[in-house]
């Protein structure tokens, strides 16, 4: 099933990756949608795509009502890559990595998702494991936005997972363990990251803004920070949309702390809005010792290329490497990407 070493983007090798998986069919409860593995997804977690104008023109519907979803018998289909839109293509690659990592797991399955949002990756990997290789498991979901944390727990419970038996980490992921300035708010959008708010230049800019605004603004900011761990500043997460978050001080964690408790991690998935370029490089040796497979949603072509080179130069097998915001051709058909796709496999494990 697995591609041989150095055979990048050999999609032909994955033509039958879903062989033996019967697409889920059955009754879907009201207000839910479902995927091919039977993962039930509360429509509330995706409602912004229907209600926020311009965010996704194809989905926007001013008459959106959660009640219009579910409450009936449904048939699902296997993911496809031929002529796939960006979301469909990304979902195909994610599902392939769930399947392959689940099949390769031995003894216990450990899956870590960075920037977990409402937990779709963790639950998807769990469902794949149950389908092809049921084993004891531990899901680790890293997500600093409180609203998302609640959704992760709900999404797990909705799919038969006890969140108290998993590790839901309410912290930002970074290259150092110092607290970071992070935009908190807008659960579900998945656009929050600390790359643009925590870097030295951003911090210096915030300090300058307060200080040049005068004594009262400085005193208020000082008060906010020392008493409430917040700058009080609002940041627009998606330009042109009314999607805002408050820039707060948030505790962070690094890959060193996340991997520390485990001997082997079967799948490490990351969708952290460009912070991947900070988070991965310092721990490339540790990853090689502990992680079997990594799936990174990359953001920005330079970030994608830098990470591809980092892993390739470190001896990892690059399985998928498709740049973000591009159209691609393959033996299984053409597709588009929004986030880039970088899947690497550890040759040692």
């Amino acid at each position: 099933m697995e591609a041989p070493r150095n055979n990048i983007n050999d999609l032909e090798h994955f033509r039958n990756v879903f062989e033996g998986v019967k697409p889920w069919s059955g009754y879907v409860p009201p207000r839910f949608i479902v995927d091919f593995l039977g993962s039930l997804i509360d429509i509330e977690f995706n409602s912004m795509w229907f209600t926020e104008p311009g965010l996704n023109p194809a989905a926007y519907n001013p008459d959106f009502s959660p009640e219009k979803f579910g409450g009936e018998h449904q048939e699902t289909a296997l993911p496809h890559i031929a002529n796939a839109t960006a979301p469909e293509a990304e979902a195909w690659f994610e599902a392939v990595d769930w399947m392959v990592s689940a099949r390769e797991a031995r003894g216990r399955y450990i899956m870590i998702t960075l920037g977990a949002n409402y937990g779709t990756q963790a639950v998807g990997a769990y469902r794949a494991l149950q389908t092809v290789n049921p084993l004891p498991y531990k899901l680790v979901a890293v997500e600093p936005v409180p609203g998302n944390l609640e959704w992760i727990k709900r999404h797990m419970r909705n799919n038969g997972i006890d969140p108290d038996k998993q590790w839901i980490v309410p912290l930002a992921i970074s290259d150092k363990i110092d607290p970071v300035l992070f935009p908190i708010g807008a659960p579900g959008f998945g656009a929050n990251n600390c790359y643009s708010t925590n870097e030295h230049a951003a911090r210096a800019q915030y300090a300058r803004e307060f200080i040049t605004s005068g004594t009262a603004a400085t005193a208020e900011a000082l008060h906010n920070l020392l008493l409430n761990n917040t700058t009080g500043l609002q940041k627009t997460l998606l330009p042109g949309h009314n999607v805002k978050a408050e820039i707060k001080l948030v505790s962070s964690i690094t890959l060193h702390e996340l991997l520390g408790p485990f001997e082997i991690v079967d799948l490490l998935e990351s969708d952290i809005q460009q912070s991947e370029i900070l988070v991965f490089p310092p721990f490339i040796d540790l990853l090689r010792r502990k992680v079997r497979r990594i799936h990174i949603g990359t953001h920005g072509e330079d970030v994608h290329v830098a990470l591809h080179n980092l892993f390739a130069d470190s001896g990892w097998d690059v399985i998928f490497s498709y740049k973000p915001n591009a159209k691609h051709e393959s033996s299984l058909g053409n597709f588009e990407t929004n986030d880039g796709v970088l899947t690497v496999r550890n040759p040692d494990l």
């Binding site: 300035l181 300090a207 900011a221 920070l225 020392l226 761990n229 702390e257 408790p261």
Partner: protein, 520 residues
């Protein structure tokens, strides 16, 4: 010459010439036969001679073998004699030891008996002297007034709150548990642990490398980490060191806390099954995880995962070094550079004075403390630089006295909760906590989770109110209280008085404690 006669008879005398030729030929044959006979005789003689030689050799070899066997048999006999002698010697030594032990035990029993008699007499005489049933007796009045004073003090703490702790301070004054009474049947029954170290055959002296201290378990400690050891020339030179097994006997003013910690390492190690997981909160340089690790290696070697949580970066480096100094690869374990708190919100924490072990965030992070920082910054008139420090570097730029003549810079540090630390594991064998009063913030929110996952908890408590509150919390939640000794006090033990600085609170999870219950 029968052949010649037969030939002559066959030929007659008819052919004299032929007869002569035949005779000549016969003579040749006879001579040949005679020669061959002689040769055969000669060969036979040689063969017999050879056989004689071989027989002689064989006899010689056999004699040698017999001699060798005799020698070996003698050697075996000697060895057996020595073995028997050795066994007899050992048996004698063991008998002597047993006799001494029995003598000691008898003496000890006599001593205990006499002490008990004395105690009994004392109790009787005191009972007779006590004004029982006379509430107006001055002693009873004095006692009642003392109780009332304590109650007033507790109510005052309840009403005003601890100025450093703020609104999260301990609520005391709940009389459901009398703190002087044991809440578990086995609470403070120290005699149960009298022989806990018996199986440890610690040599009286251990070799220490230059610059290191060493203890009875062979744990090496870089003398720079030991605040009380100084850096004397003897330690710098290394060499043989006399070590002692921890004891509470006659241990007044000595380090009693060490005894309790060590007992908990060994009990947790003995009870572990499959894998040993040990979590140390406020790990300083890692004394507790290394101690637990060494105990495990001595009594129940199992796969192990050590978790050390410490907010001070320099201390985290020391943990790694202390691990390496004791043969533990830090990369195989989990060292978390964060403060332990009740939530994951960043906390204001004094960073510095590594190894002192006094850093905590109760006095720097609670709302009242944060108010103080704002007031201090205002009073200093440097709000602009303070804000810049905070936003750019996460630091207030202010120093906080953390005791021992040391201070730390008050900075924002990432916090981690007990939930985050326990979640990766199905079971934790020992959770050790020495976080300078933050225990009252960090542990209570996760009482249910602790019950699901942790077999044994050892808390160094700070402040009597904190100690009492945690004791009450665990007892009320059904945990078996093993040790309960208030901080900053002198306590009575079966072996004399013990002085406690940090309080000692050890609780055992009854859901996991079948082994210890059976043993007890």
């Amino acid at each position: 010459m029968n052949v010649l006669r037969i030939a002559k008879r066959m030929l007659g005398n008819s052919d004299q010439a032929a007869q002569t030729a035949i005779e000549a030929r016969l003579n040749e044959i006879i001579a040949g036969v005679a020669n061959q006979t002689e040769l055969i005789n000669q060969r036979l003689t040689e063969t017999i001679h050879g056989l004689d030689n071989q027989s002689q050799l064989i006899n010689q070899r056999m004699s040698e073998n017999v001699q060798g066997l005799d020698n070996q048999s003698e050697a075996f006999t000697n060895s057996l004699d020595k073995l028997v002698q050795g066994i007899q010697n050992q048996s004698e030594r063991l008998s002597n030891k047993l006799d001494k032990l029995i003598e000691g035990q008898q003496a000890h029993l006599q001593l205990v008996g006499s002490k008990l008699d004395g105690l009994d007499d004392g109790i009787k005489s005191q009972s007779q002297a006590l004004p029982i049933g006379n509430p107006s007796h001055p002693l009873i009045e004095q006692h009642n007034e003392h109780d009332a004073g304590i109650a007033r003090t507790i109510r005052a703490i309840d009403a005003k709150g601890n100025p450093l702790i703020g609104p999260k301070e301990v609520t005391v004054g709940n009389d459901e548990f009398d703190d002087d009474m044991p809440s578990s049947p086995d609470e403070n029954r120290l005699e149960r642990f009298q022989y806990i170290f018996e199986s440890i055959l610690a040599p009286p002296e251990v070799e220490a490398p230059p610059g290191f201290l060493v203890d009875f378990m062979g744990i090496l400690l870089d003398s720079r980490f030991a605040t009380s050891s100084g850096h004397d020339a003897e330690i710098a030179a290394g060499g043989s060191r006399r070590v002692t097994i921890p004891t509470l006997r006659e241990n007044y003013n000595a380090d009693s806390e060490w005894w309790f910690e060590t007992v908990d390492w060994f009990v947790a190690a003995l009870e572990a099954r499959g894998q040993f997981v040990m979590v140390s909160l406020g790990a300083s340089y890692g004394a507790q995880p290394v101690g637990a690790y060494k105990a495990l290696q001595m009594v129940n070697p199992l796969p192990v995962k050590l978790v050390a949580v410490e907010a001070d970066p320099q201390s985290c480096n020391r943990i790694r070094q202390h691990f390496r100094d004791n043969g533990i690869n830090p990369e195989d374990h989990w060292i978390v550079q964060a403060a332990v708190s009740d939530t994951a919100e960043p906390v204001l924490f004094p960073i510095g004075a590594s190894g002192l072990g006094s850093n905590n965030c109760v006095s720097t992070n609670e709302p009242k403390a944060r108010d103080i920082w704002i007031e201090t910054i205002k009073r200093n008139g440097d709000a602009t630089s303070a804000l810049e420090n905070l936003i750019r570097y996460g630091s207030t730029g202010l120093m906080h006295n953390i005791g021992g003549g040391c201070s730390g810079e008050v900075k924002f540090v990432s916090a981690i909760t007990v939930a985050d630390l326990l979640s990766p594991f199905d079971k934790v064998d020992l959770l050790e906590c020495d976080i300078q009063q933050s225990e009252i913030v960090a542990l209570p929110p996760y009482l249910d989770l602790l019950r699901r996952k942790v077999k044994r908890i050892h808390i160094g408590t700070h402040g009597e109110d904190v100690h009492r509150s945690l004791h009450r919390m665990f007892a009320k939640a059904g945990w078996d209280v093993v040790f309960n000794y208030k901080p900053n006090a002198t306590h009575q033990s079966p072996w004399g008085r013990i002085r406690i600085n940090d309080g000692v609170l050890t609780v055992q999870n009854p859901d996991f404690s079948t082994v210890s219950r059976n043993r007890n």
